[in-house]
């Protein structure tokens, strides 16, 4: 027992029962169902009862176990009588007994009556013992009742296990930036381009991409305040192709009115600045 509850024996005393209950006087094999009329019922009887027994199966198991009976060979008449005594008592003190207890009472009565029916000898083998289903349920419940007790005895955090912890330096949780692959980026572009139906106009080619890039780079070097010598934007080391790209970029910038071009006189140096 997990020791969660008051000993069922307490309740037993309360009910005037003893472990020797089966040895009490019987009439025609049926025990005298006598209750002490003046039995004192403590006000917290409901809690005691409900906490002591998890349900009809638990109560039955208790009745069986305290008499050292084998669950496989339940004296159904005697157990039913004892069970009913508890149920009657609970009714007497007007506890709102869970419906499951009453259902079990009916089940027990049914088994009892089937046990009394004479069975043909030949049929006895095939016909299942009327108690079989109850026995199965009792065992099934009992194994999990024990499993629950086992679980309770496992070491657990807070009671037996103390995880070790140490404060860490006070650091802001660094935020990791999302990863983006080129694939993601291109897929996004393909989508938006398809939507914008831009594939139909082939006006953006690889060539213009490098021009576009150069436009950005050129704009970065320009300011609205100072003029820059056009020639300084052309890097001879880039070779012919590089110069052409730069030149196209500048033309495009002029076309888009992004830069201002100034030439004092023909053949004089050309100066550029960003449009203010």
């Amino acid at each position: 027992m997990g020791g969660v509850l008051n000993d069922p024996a307490d309740l037993n005393h309360m009910l005037g029962e003893t472990a020797e209950a089966p040895q009490r006087a019987t009439v025609r094999g049926e025990p005298l169902a006598e209750f002490p009329r003046d039995l004192y019922i403590p006000p917290d009887a409901l809690e005691v009862f409900l906490e002591t027994f998890q349900g009809p199966l638990d109560l039955l198991l208790y009745l069986i176990r305290r008499q050292n009976l084998d669950v496989l060979d339940i004296p159904i008449a005697s157990i039913t009588r004892q069970y009913m005594k508890y149920v009657e008592l609970m009714k007497d003190i007007r506890l709102e007994l869970a419906a499951e207890y009453l259902v079990m009472a009916a089940v027990l009565a049914e088994i009892k009556s089937r046990m009394l029916l004479p069975r043909p000898v030949e049929a006895a083998d095939e016909e299942e013992d009327p108690r079989a289903e109850l026995v199965r349920r009792l065992q099934e419940y009992e194994r999990y009742k024990h499993a629950g007790e086992d679980l309770d005895s496992l070491p657990r955090i807070g009671r037996d296990v103390y995880p070790a912890a140490a404060p860490a330096p006070d650091i802001r949780g660094t935020r990791r930036e999302p990863e983006v692959s080129l694939q993601d980026l291109l897929a996004a572009l393909a989508d938006v381009m398809a939507r914008a139906e831009m594939f139909t106009h082939h006006h953006v080619q690889r060539e213009t991409l490098s021009v576009r890039e150069r436009m950005t780079m050129t704009l970065e070097r320009l300011s609205a305040d100072t003029f820059i010598d056009f020639r300084s934007l052309l890097n001879v080391e880039e070779g012919r192709r590089g110069i052409v790209v730069s030149f196209l970029a500048i033309l495009e910038l002029i076309k888009e009115s992004l830069v201002e071009l100034v030439q004092a006189e023909p053949f004089a140096p050309i100066y550029l600045r960003a449009r203010a």
Binding site: R136, H146, P155, R156, A164
Partner: protein
């Protein structure tokens, strides 16, 4: 991310990094989680992590703490032998769990996936909603799907946190369930059975075993 370039395990031994991380976490860390503490190219592989954890466990020999593996990974915890002192840190005794809660949790642990209706059938009483809620709030059980029957009731199973809480590495480590016996078993001396019958019983017993395995 400038500081991360310092992830230099040549200066800090791996076992000491793991010790610091486990203590900072204050609970179990999986090997996968441990790997994320490193720059991807510097992340130790799992054998290396296991080796470092073993070395740490070795260092802790004869000390008041130990490295253990539980459901969701590895953690550092206080040794049993220290309980007399450590348990006095808190004035309040840890609460007890009700039988209803323990039995419900046991049924879920051993019979998962299992519906609330099935639990009620085994216990023979209805299960209060608060018990199911408590178990879920503690993160010990979770809904793992729905049974394909009318009403499509949720099926429940236990979590890694459940294993962590009860100091278990896997469900295998739960104590085994009591075996079910059959009515015929009570008078063995009278049961001069035919081979077919015994075979049938064996099969049933194997069934029960097979059942256990699906539970794990």
């Amino acid at each position: 991310m400038g500081m991360q370039t310092l992830n230099d395990t040549s200066r800090a031994p791996l076992k000491h990094i793991l010790e610091a991380a486990l203590l900072a976490a204050g609970g179990a860390l999986s090997l996968d989680h441990m790997q994320t503490l490193f720059e991807s190219e510097a992340a130790p592989d799992k054998p290396a992590l296991r080796e470092a954890l073993a070395a740490l466990a070795q260092d802790y020999q004869g000390r008041g703490i130990e490295v253990v593996e539980v459901g969701s990974g590895w953690r550092i915890q206080v040794r049993d032998a220290m309980a007399p002192w450590v348990s006095r840190l808190w004035e309040e005794r840890p609460g007890r769990y009700s039988r209803a809660l323990l039995e419900t949790l046991a049924i879920i642990a051993y019979r998962q996936p299992v519906t609330r209706g099935e639990i009620e059938e085994i216990r023979g009483v209805s299960i209060s909603t608060s018990i199911m809620r408590t178990l879920q709030e503690r993160g010990w059980i979770r809904s793992v799907g729905h049974r394909d029957v009318p009403g499509r009731p949720a099926m429940f199973g236990t979590t890694r946190s459940f294993l962590d809480h009860f100091n278990l590495k896997s469900l295998d480590q739960l104590p085994s369930l009591a075996e079910l016996r059959h009515l015929d078993d009570i008078h063995p001396e009278l049961d001069l059975k035919f081979p077919e019958e015994t075979a049938g019983e064996d099969a049933e017993r194997r069934d029960a075993d097979g059942h256990r395995q699906t539970e794990h």
